[in-house]
Amino acid sequence: MTSTPTTADGPPGAGAADAPAPPEPAGAGRAGRVARYVAGRLTTAAASLAAVVVAGFFLFRILPGDPVRAMTEGREVTAEQREELRRQFGLDEPLWRQFLDYASGLLRLDLGTSFQYREPVAELILDRLGPTVLLAGTGTVVAALLGLFLGARAGWRPGGRGDRVNTAVALFFWSVPTFWLGLLLIVFLASGRGFVPGLFPTGGMVAPGADGALETALSTARHMVLPVTTMVAVIYAQYLMIMRSSLMDEKGADYLTTARAKGLRDTLVRRRHAVPNALLPTVTLVFLNLGQVVSGVILVETVFSWPGLGQLFYSGLRVPDLGLVQGLFVVFAASVILMNLLADLVYPLLDPRVRP
């Protein structure tokens, strides 16, 4: 993994954005340093990716169980039928040969074939990518907005009633098991028990009968309510806590005193001066989480039968469907690495203190 910039890179609570960047020698030297910085980050990312490719192959080979046995479990098959399956999956080949096939396939962007679905892994992933990005993306955006909004307020008046209540509530949900919360929402808001009607669907993404763009969109929106709620409830605390502590760090800063001295209202001081500076650490978190948007939220997708990548991964692990899980592993890892790389590249633009 690439290194992650945090506030530790600069003295916390120091002069910050308003302060001048460290003195810099002019012109060509700087461009060279930037180029070196970018190249360094790119190399690290490429090395990480290569490590992931190798690990992805051998890691899943260590998984206990045999895909052919698991897939034919309880079926009345003969030894010949099992052998044929083993041959079709390429499991009769020596390990190094399997690895070469897999690695050379990756170079051609061929992620291999799933054992249980008998379809190219890339196609399966593309098919599930949309739903996952829709769900996890919406969830991340809502959680980030909610967390940052509440966190900014909590951090502005730490120890106040709003802070105590909001932090407690957020930490409560953070510690609640996703699975349990999801099922609870289904039981109370979807199944129509007692006098509470079934407000939302119990699972899936679109009602099977829906046709037409509007109907599909409305149906999808309805299906999204509970999963997004579950996801947001569980993760928004991260944003809240980071925003809160980083705003607390900024609170004592001199530039805020200056702003107040100018006669600005308290809200404006917070909004225009404190929050933008406190936002920096959360940028890292947002990027990290964006990388995970692709891998989805396995538990939420499973509880709500959401047809996304997380659920696909879960179904692959049970077999183990080696072709599928190693392909997904590479894609998940690549997306995290890519987002991390982006964070590394974007961060210096936002924070002069870490500029090369």
Partner: protein
């Protein structure tokens, strides 16, 4: 400080100025509007199973589709679906569990039992209008015999076929290498040659990956596969021209629920009509729900534990690391006698099972066998078990654990599937009961993959297993013949390293016996041998638990009719016979609008409350500041 506070906009970059409004209020209003916009869709929600017409039966499934290619489909969900799309030669009579006519009206065997002649119905057409003839049948079987990729799913049925011919349009002749008593239960989907021959040519080597997803698929069964939205739903349309008569429902939709508890809630809400493979807790909870019928069917499956008698290959090479003392039959029998199967039923299955005797579950009346007293009875008797072990020289050590005559302490590993609650519970009981006879058990509750690896490596002492037994028990009997031993470690066909000469002779005899009562007698004696040798020890036959909504399904055929199940039938009786509940019943069950408005009210209330909280917070922080 300035007392003129406004709720802040969410996140704003310092440079961007927005008109000062009340962003929070606007956001709340937008949220409410969005919810209200969603209500027309909401209104139809509780009656969701009726979407796309009244006569839709919705089933919750979780297993993914491997392939709709009947030559290669392996998984339970696809083989089940394909049974409704393609007819077979014969089916199972839901009253008697015996083979019954389907495509074949009648069948007969030659004197030597090596030639079977099937006479086909003359009124069968495929869903594209082409007639189904003997040529289609012969081509289907021959393809499986000649093409290895086409034998992946059902090759076991044709392993002993020599030749299949179609002397005329309605006669199929199958010649065998060896007599095969399972010939009247060939569960092989018959496909249209005019569709599949071109596919086979076109796909060539890639046939193994051909998924048969050109909808609607052409078949002769009571349903036509009409759509598959991967990971979301599978749709079957009724074939109104089916020779047995049109199915009661127009459409069957299988919807994906990856979590069974969520599927149970969907059944409560009416989004689905049927859910299967319930746990005992789920079934019990549903029993009290309105408009839901829970079906507790006689088990098809047995739950068993096997004792490692010493893993060997067919050539007699020993491998693995099973406890050496377990080669002694007396010790194995004592272990069986220490376990109370009634206790397993009560505590591990909550009473939803039948205590086991023989290998074949009692739902198959004529093949089922139970020990009847006398010397052969290994029923629960810990005192007798202790006496047997004392006599055989297994002395108790200072810690109460016995030591074998060869000096090995009786500490046994036990592998249990961690994902099967009934096995986990039964395992806990076994630990206690075996302690009663001086055997220490190391309880290894593990991932099924770990368990499977231990089994095939012969590195276990006690291990849990279970099989679903089909109306023809041949296969589950075959896995305990000496031929099922591994040729080399890891390749075992069976699941117990069992090998017994008498058993093998009886097995061959039953396979060649075409007279059903005589064959049943041989099957009884096979179970007796298995029981006596105490390698494969059956504990219980768990009930099948499934539930459906009576306001959506008025009636449905069980297989067998008495104590039978709905999902996973040998035939297509359930979905073919299911009749929709009347329209009024459906409407009264849905009653959407009031509920919806109450719900919308609740949501608005929550929004108002949240808004109030925020306002309150604002005021309080304001006071802090003054």
């Amino acid at each position: 400080m300035n007392s003129h506070h406004r709720p802040s906009g969410l996140l704003r970059s310092p440079g961007l100025r927005r008109p000062r409004g009340a962003p929070l209020r606007r956001a709340a209003a937008a949220g409410t509007a969005l919810l209200l916009a969603a209500t027309p869709a909401l209104a139809s929600a509780p009656a969701a199973a009726d979407e796309g017409g009244q006569d839709t039966l919705t089933v919750a499934i979780s297993q993914q589709v491997d392939s709709f290619n009947p030559f290669t489909a392996q998984l339970a969900v696809t083989t089940n679906i394909l049974r409704h799309v393609y007819d077979s030669l014969t089916t199972t009579n839901p009253e008697t569990n015996e083979p019954a006519p389907a495509l074949a009206e009648s069948w007969e065997t030659s004197e030597d039992g090596l030639t079977w002649t099937f006479r086909l119905r003359d009124d069968v057409t495929f869903s594209d209008g082409e007639p189904l003839t003997a040529d289609d049948v012969a081509w289907t079987f021959t393809t499986m015999m000649e093409n290895e990729a086409a034998a992946v799913a059902n090759g076991n049925y044709v392993a002993d076929f020599r030749l299949v011919t179609a002397p005329d349009d309605h006669t199929v002749v199958i010649e065998l290498d060896e007599p095969q008593a399972t010939m009247a239960s060939l569960n092989v989907p018959i496909v249209p040659r005019h569709v599949w021959e071109p596919v086979l040519e076109e796909e060539g080597e890639a046939f193994a990956e051909y998924g048969n997803e050109d909808f609607p698929t052409v078949g002769s069964g009571p349903f036509v596969l009409s759509g598959h939205d991967r990971g979301r739903s599978i749709t079957l349309e009724a074939n109104p021209d089916h020779w047995r008569g049109a199915p009661g429902f127009d459409r069957i939709v299988m919807r994906y629920y990856s979590e069974k508890d969520a599927a149970v809630e969907a059944l409560r809400s009416g989004e689905i009509s049927f859910v299967y493979e319930l746990t005992q807790a789920q079934a019990t909870a549903l029993e009290s729900a309105e408009d839901i019928h829970v079906n507790f069917a006689d088990g098809k499956r047995f739950q068993a534990f096997t004792i490692n008698p010493g893993a060997v290959t067919q050539d007699g090479d020993e491998f693995g690391d099973g406890h050496p003392a377990l080669a002694d039959r007396t010790l194995r029998q004592a272990i069986v006698m220490a376990v109370d199967n009634e206790e397993i039923v009560d505590k591990a299955h909550g009473g939803r099972a039948v205590a086991a005797g023989g290998y074949i579950p009692p739902r198959y009346e004529d093949f089922h066998w139970a020990p009847e007293g006398g010397g052969a009875d290994l029923g629960f008797d810990p005192d007798a078990a202790n006496a047997m072990l004392d006599e055989a020289g297994y002395e108790r050590g200072a810690d109460g654990v016995r030591v074998s005559p060869d000096g090995d302490r009786l500490r046994l590993r036990m592998h249990v599937h961690q994902d099967r609650p009934a096995n986990v519970n039964a395992g806990l009981i076994l630990v206690e009961r075996l302690a009663d006879i001086g055997i220490e058990v190391q309880n290894l509750t593990v991932d099924p993959g770990v368990l499977s690896d231990a089994l095939y490596a012969g590195e276990y002492d006690l291990i849990f297993t279970g099989w679903t037994v089909n109306p023809d028990p041949d296969y589950v009997l075959s896995i305990h013949t000496c031929g099922a031993l591994p040729t080399e470690p890891g390749t075992m066909q069976g699941d117990a390293y069992f090998c017994d000469e008498e058993y093998d002779e009886l097995y061959e005899a039953q396979l060649a016996e075409y007279d059903r009562p005589a064959r049943a007698e041989l099957v009884h004696r096979l179970q007796e041998v298995l029981y006596r040798e105490a390698v494969v020890n059956v504990l219980a036959y768990p009930d099948i638990m499934e539930a459906y909504r009576t306001d959506q399904i008025a009636s449905i055929q069980y297989e067998p009719a008495e104590g039978g199940n709905i999902w996973g039938q040998e035939g297509y009786w359930a979905w073919w016979s299911a009749e929709p509940a009347s329209a009024e019943a459906g409407a009264s069950a849905s009653g959407p609008s009031t509920g919806v408005w109450v719900g919308v009210g609740a949501v608005v209330l929550v929004l108002v409350a949240a808004g109030g909280f925020l306002l309150f917070r604002r005021r309080s922080t304001m006071e802090d500041r003054e």
